[in-house]
Amino acid sequence: MLLNQFLLLSAVLFCIGVYGVIVRRNGVLVLMSIELILNAVNINLVAFGTMTDAAIGQVFALFVIAVAAAEVGVGLAIVLLIYRNRQSIDIDELDELKG
């Protein structure tokens, strides 16, 4: 199998994830798009690891999976807190930092 087929698939997933992060207004859906991006990175890591015949790629993919789990936990807690304070999780309404 070609290495590029995995890399191009992960590039497509990455771009779809970036589109979702920019266009979605619902906080939970933005987090889902971030998961798409992280999974694209994981495919890359495992594909490169297999190409060089080293296990290091899989080790890093496992680390990324664990960090993604922690990120989703904290991220959903923050989204929940936003909902509790504002009765809405519309990301576009969170513009207090705008000058």
Binding site: M1, N4, A11, L31, S33, D53, Q58, V59, V72, I89
Partner: protein, 180 residues
């Protein structure tokens, strides 16, 4: 006919490539469709369910790359835990369960499409230029054993730090949403 001859003439290691390539094509098409539905569907719960399809596809890709342990971990952690967390998040934020039309920021959509397309062209072009016909070497027989040796050998300290990170994230999430 030429395909059959080519398959008969290939080396044992490469003969495997024809079915795996077909499997890869089917899985990749399903993943791209599901990923597009995740970012375009108007139903929040459907987005979570399409995300399951993408994550299963990623796990199938790991199996194609002979990384069984990562594939099983992917299914356990992502499909088993993270998607359930997402569904709880949808439930607790009282998201509209049916169709809703205000999930997307229409003002940002042209910029988002432009950004994604530019990224795709740049990434795809550089990938094709750099890794034109490089092959994936599918030879590793005992990848799980090797991964375990790597994690509990040279990468023991990052592994332990990761445990502390998970604990910190757990406590942080509880502290954030606690009512008092």
């Amino acid at each position: 006919m030429t395909g059959v001859l080519a398959a008969a003439a290939c080396a044992p290691n490469e003969c495997l490539a024809v079915p795996t390539n077909i499997a890869f094509g089917a899985i990749a098409a399903l993943m791209i469709y599901a990923a597009i539905r995740v970012v375009t569907t108007k139903n929040v719960v459907h987005a979570a369910l399409f995300l399951v399809l993408v994550l299963m596809g990623v796990a199938a890709n790991f199996i194609l790359l002979q990384a069984e342990f990562v594939a099983v971990t992917q299914i356990l952690v992502y499909v088993g835990a993270i998607v359930v967390l997402f569904l709880f998040g949808i439930m607790l934020t009282k998201a509209p369960l049916g169709r809703s039309d205000d999930l997307d920021n229409l003002k940002n959509r042209p910029y988002a499409i432009l950004t994604a397309l530019i990224l795709m062209v740049v990434l795809g072009g550089s990938l094709i230029a750099t890794f034109g016909n490089d092959k994936v070497a599918l030879t590793a027989p005992n990848s799980t054993e090797v991964v375990a040796d790597e994690i509990f050998g040279p990468y023991l300290i990052p592994f332990e730090v990761l445990s502390v990170l998970l604990l910190a994230a757990l406590i942080g999430a509880i502290v954030l949403v606690r009512k008092d």
